[in-house]
Every structure is written in C-alpha cells, then in structure tokens.
Amino acid sequence: MLGWIAGRSLRQIVLAVGAVILLASGAFGGLRQAEPDQRGALTLGEPRDAAPVRLTVKGVYWADDLGEAIGPSDFGRYLLVIADVSSGHDASLDSFVVRETLRLNRLDQLAKNTLSRVPVRSEDADPQVIVTDDRVRLAELGPGLTYEVAFIWEQQISEPLPTSIELQTWSHQFRQSSLDDQENWFGRSPDATGRFAVTKFGAS
C-alpha cells in the first residue's frame, strides 16, 4: 500500500485524497455544519416549537360523536387532540403545515383523511384541524393569532380503544420547491414525542 502511494505523483495523491473526502462527506450532507438534534419530550401543557408552529397539547380524547357541525363518526370512533397553535412565521401558514405538525404513532386502522377512507397506519393518517370555538376548519394559520384547535382522526371500531397514545410533533423547513420556484414549508423532520392518557371527550 505504502509502496503504491510512494509511486504516485503529488497531483494524483491530492486528487485521490480530495475524492475520498468528497465521497465520504457527501453521504452525510457534505461539509456543512450539521444541525444539532432537536428531538425532545412533548408534555401536557408545555409549549413546543415545531417550526414554524408553536403547539401546546391540552388533552387527548376519544369520542363516538362530536355533536353539532361534525356529528357521529361513520368510520368508527374519533381520536382527538386539543391543542393551542400559533405561528412564529411572518406569513400565514397553509393548512397542510399545521396538519402535518402532529401525528399519532403506533396505531392501526385510521382513516387516511376526510376524502380517502382507506385504513392506514396512524403515521400516514392526516387529521382534520377544527377551531374549537366555532367548529370551523382552520385553513390558514395567520401570524400573531393563537387558536385552540382539535386535531381529529378516525379509527375503525374493530381496533381496541387505546388507553394512551404516543404523539409526535414534526417540524418543517422553509425552502424552494425542487419542482418549481415556489417557496413554502416543505421537508418534514421528526421533532418531539410524548405519551398521553386518553379519556372520553366531554366526560370530565
């Protein structure tokens, strides 16, 4: 090995070392400063910044029927998280950013979303986000406003009722789309997790 190296010119050695550095660092995102791991614990009543949303979990519940405006579940049961949400960004956030900020972990047989009723794993299920005060969907999260919302999923009744649920927050990065020049909060990455007891909605 040393003999082979001794037989190379200085130019060849420099190029070879450069290629090794490029290939080895490229696999881990290059030589840029790596972001520190921000994952942490999600706890009841504690605000959590999952960029660009600030979210405070206030309770986790289940229900068969959510009454006026929403009604009974035609899929099975509702699983819902009541939380305060606000934004630290200087422009309103599209609904998908808020919707993708919170996910249920390790549950099965949830409706994929309000349009597609295909049962999926909870990590792939999109919640509805409804403002609790007037039961109207939150389509944009405007700057400077804090809403109490319900993140609502539906689960098939054949699944056992969970006594506790693991929640996960996801943060987003503001960047240009890889397809066109629009900029938005693309690129989700996992943030914090926490396990919460589930109680019947309205039972307290």
Partner: protein, 192 residues
C-alpha cells in the same frame, strides 16, 4: 501543461464567469413574476386587467355571521372588506386575497378557506357584483394594513392586483373589539 490546455481552461473559467455575471444581473424569478400592484382607496375605482374593482367599505368584529349561515369567532379580529367588481371582456372572478398588516406580516387566502375567504365569482360582463373579503388578523398590527385582491388564487403571478389602503386606525380596532356579531352578505349580483 501545454498552451492549448491552458487556453481551454481559461475559456472554461471565462464562460463560467460570464454565466455567473449574467445570473447576478438578471432579475430573480420571483421578482420578475411579481404582481402589478394598483393602489386604490376606499370609494375609488381601479382598472385591473380583467375588470374594474371599487372598494366600498371596511368593517371588523370578533365574530361574524355570513349570509350563507356559517359563522366564525376569531381570537383576533375578522376584517370584512366589501367591494364591487365589473368584468370587462369575459366573465372574471376575484379569487386571491392577501392582507399585509401594519408590521409587514402577510395572510394569504382564497375563495374556499372557510374562515378567511374572498367571495367574488364571475358575474355577467358589464354588470356590477357586490363581493366581500373576510380575513382574520392580529388586532395589534391591524392599523396600517392594506388588502391585495387579484384574479387567480392558484397562480396570481404576472397579473394585476388591487392594493386597497384599508385606513384602519387604533380607534377602529378598539371599537370592533367591543362590537356585536357582524352580519355579512357574501355575494350578490346587482339588480337581482
């Protein structure tokens, strides 16, 4: 290294430098595709590419009841801007809104937002339609706000946008915070 290799290398470097210089001097794509802003005050009329827009009034409240039956209660204030629109060549709509508040923050909304909503579907050419834009905002930064209205919510680029000076004062904000529920007529064709 031969003279021809040196020449080739120099040409490559020169081409890269010219490309970089051009890239630096050409307008950024988002800048080149920006909307053509047409400032207008309440009561005045502005000519947009697709028709004439006249802002009529600005109101606000913590809760509103739309004439279609839905109501919202805002943690801030719901601002309601009434305006008239007359299509010019073909039936056209106003489907894009953006509120720029007094601190420069922006809320973008469209025709089907449930809470924030611009309701102005295309009426017959030459006929006035009464339209509304409803948008929730932080009361602290409402004074100094302007509202942008344009045709297409999916891709408003390159088109005209009416920029309405809402002329909201701190006194307006205080009055709206203490007001009753505001009833809003969302859309109406004049004379029908």
């Amino acid at each position: 290294m031969s003279r021809s290799q040196l020449g080739t290398g120099s040409l490559v470097v020169a081409a890269l430098a010219v490309g970089q210089a051009l890239n630096d001097r050409l307008p950024d794509s988002s800048d080149a595709s920006r909307l053509f802003e047409r400032p207008v005050a309440i009561g005045e009329t502005v000519e947009l590419r697709t028709g004439d827009l006249t802002p009529r009034s600005v109101e606000g409240a913590t809760s509103i009841l739309r004439s279609i039956g839905s109501s919202i209660r805002s943690p801030g204030l719901a601002v309601v801007v009434s305006f008239d629109f007359v299509s010019r060549q073909v039936s056209s709509s106003i489907r894009y809104g953006e509120l720029r508040d007094g601190s420069g923050r922006v809320t973008v909304f469209g025709p089907s937002g449930d809470r924030n909503e611009v309701t102005c579907s295309g009426g017959p050419v030459g006929i006035v339609v009464h339209c509304t834009a409803v948008v929730e905002a932080d009361p602290e930064t409402l004074p100094g706000s302007v509202l942008g209205l344009a045709g297409d919510e999916l891709d408003p680029r390159f088109d005209d946008m009416a920029v309405i000076d809402l002329d909201i004062t701190a006194a307006d904000v205080r009055a709206w915070q203490e007001s009753e529920e505001l009833e809003v007529d969302v859309y109406e064709v004049a004379g029908l």
